[in-house]
Symmetry: C2
Subunit: 340 residues, 2 copies
Amino acid sequence: MKLQAALALCLLLVTVSPPRSQAAARDAKALAINPLPDWNDGAARSSIIRFVESVSRKGSPDYVPPPERIAVFDNDGTLWAEQPLYVQVFFISDRIHALAPEHPEWQNQEPFASVLRGDMKSALAGGEHAIMEMAMATHAGMTSEEFDKIARDWIAHARNPATGKLYTDMVYQPMLELLTYLRGKGFKTYIVSGGGVEFMRPWAERVYGIPPEQVIGSSIKLKFELRDGKPVLVRLPEIDFIDDGPGKPVGIQMRIGRRPIAAFGNSDGDLQMLQWTAAGSGPHFCLYVHHTDGVREWAYDRQSSIGRLDKGLDAAAENGWTVVDMKSDWRRIYPAVATR
Amino acid sequence: MKLQAALALCLLLVTVSPPRSQAAARDAKALAINPLPDWNDGAARSSIIRFVESVSRKGSPDYVPPPERIAVFDNDGTLWAEQPLYVQVFFISDRIHALAPEHPEWQNQEPFASVLRGDMKSALAGGEHAIMEMAMATHAGMTSEEFDKIARDWIAHARNPATGKLYTDMVYQPMLELLTYLRGKGFKTYIVSGGGVEFMRPWAERVYGIPPEQVIGSSIKLKFELRDGKPVLVRLPEIDFIDDGPGKPVGIQMRIGRRPIAAFGNSDGDLQMLQWTAAGSGPHFCLYVHHTDGVREWAYDRQSSIGRLDKGLDAAAENGWTVVDMKSDWRRIYPAVATR
């Protein structure tokens, strides 16, 4: 009897909580019916689905063969939050604190002294020169493998000071759905970001499903060396490429060698990428994420020092690009399940 | 009776020459039994198959998940012939002839004057500086789209002066089989060449099945511009990156962001790429193509000015890398069917 009861219980459990594959199949079925569950019905959602279906449905006049279905995404402010400062700026700040014991001179040397006093605003007041100095001090001098580990360890624990959330929990759920939807329709999804390429790669695959070879970003120079017969790539304190603004189409051409047919951004730094995409000879789709939700996220556009969207808003209106109103278009901002 | 005879004939024809899909299925079956038909039995062929099977068979102790199955191939001398000169040098020469009417000053200006007299040897005697000058004069000054068309048109008609064959008919049949075999086993195949990335991309997909985003090469700088409101990428006469020697591991890290597990080269310019691959923590495979066949191709190694294989031969012996003896390992050099 006991054995029978146990067996019955087992059977019940199996019936009540379907095995993982069944749940996955159910999720897949739900997504097939509604591929963008956290997008409210509206012009933005409709325009995405109309475009994606028209280029991927065989026999459609706008059909695009799968190898040409290239979709490019900005990262900061488009796939994850960029306020109160770019995530990589917090990384730089934390690295300066971690490295300070080896650099006693930083106590009296700007912009480092301000960072060590916790005054990021003054540190950044030094402009591009100060940012570069901080970036080089924290991103160069180690091997690529060592930097990968530093970035990986940091992102696993660092939290946004405004929300207390892990940065990787502040990715936009509707954009994750969009990435999945596009890949399901044969698109190759790329990140094209002003951020450091080797800062993003360690977590982009886990968080966005985007493998390292599909992450395009800014970079510093690398140097091949044999150290005790072992080859290493040393990170040099020298800019190789800035993947921002007019650099984005350049990065796309250098790395992909094909013009995207879909581009997604949120700031004027993405404008040239959208223009480049829109100038293709075939069907194309351009979208701006507009930060309009001061309650659930942040509201900013034309006047913001971070993620300014000014010329881009005008260009979107002029060219009929899709503009996502985060407040009304998105049912949810961040993923419901925080731990991944 | 006539109808019956016609029907019988039709039936016969259908039976004798199977439709394309049946032929393709037969080819696929033959390749499944022998994935490398133009490789003779021997140590090189066995080492390739042993490695590929060991990393791709589930349950194998050396199993490598598909996303990490990155294979990198040098181009000149590894995938296609590089004698009597690199193909891109012939391209440069032909472009100088084509552009000469716009540059009357070239008649008296080296290295251009030598090229126009048909004396490539003297033109190249000016060394790296002369090569750069010729490369910039022929590769810069137009948009990326314009250059794509120039390269595409040239490769469709240009022929190797020594053989009279189209350059794209001088690709190595055994290496084409190897590319197909690797892709069938879940590998992502890349070109990592000292050649110009935008020179190779226009034909690499058609000839090797390698899409533009998997071609890594040397590059010049690009500049984004709006011309009458239309965005273009202008090719600047300025080196961006030299993807040769110690530059190859750098190019791999910058573009792919993962270490390859298999690397294929033919010269000392590939040595660092093979070293970088061999230094990975998991299973790996390194192979040198050794040009030993002076009858069917060219025989050269330690003393050659083009494609010198000297340090590489020593490193291969020291590290147990596979060395392909073209003369004995390859049943055929070039594809049987010239037209593709």
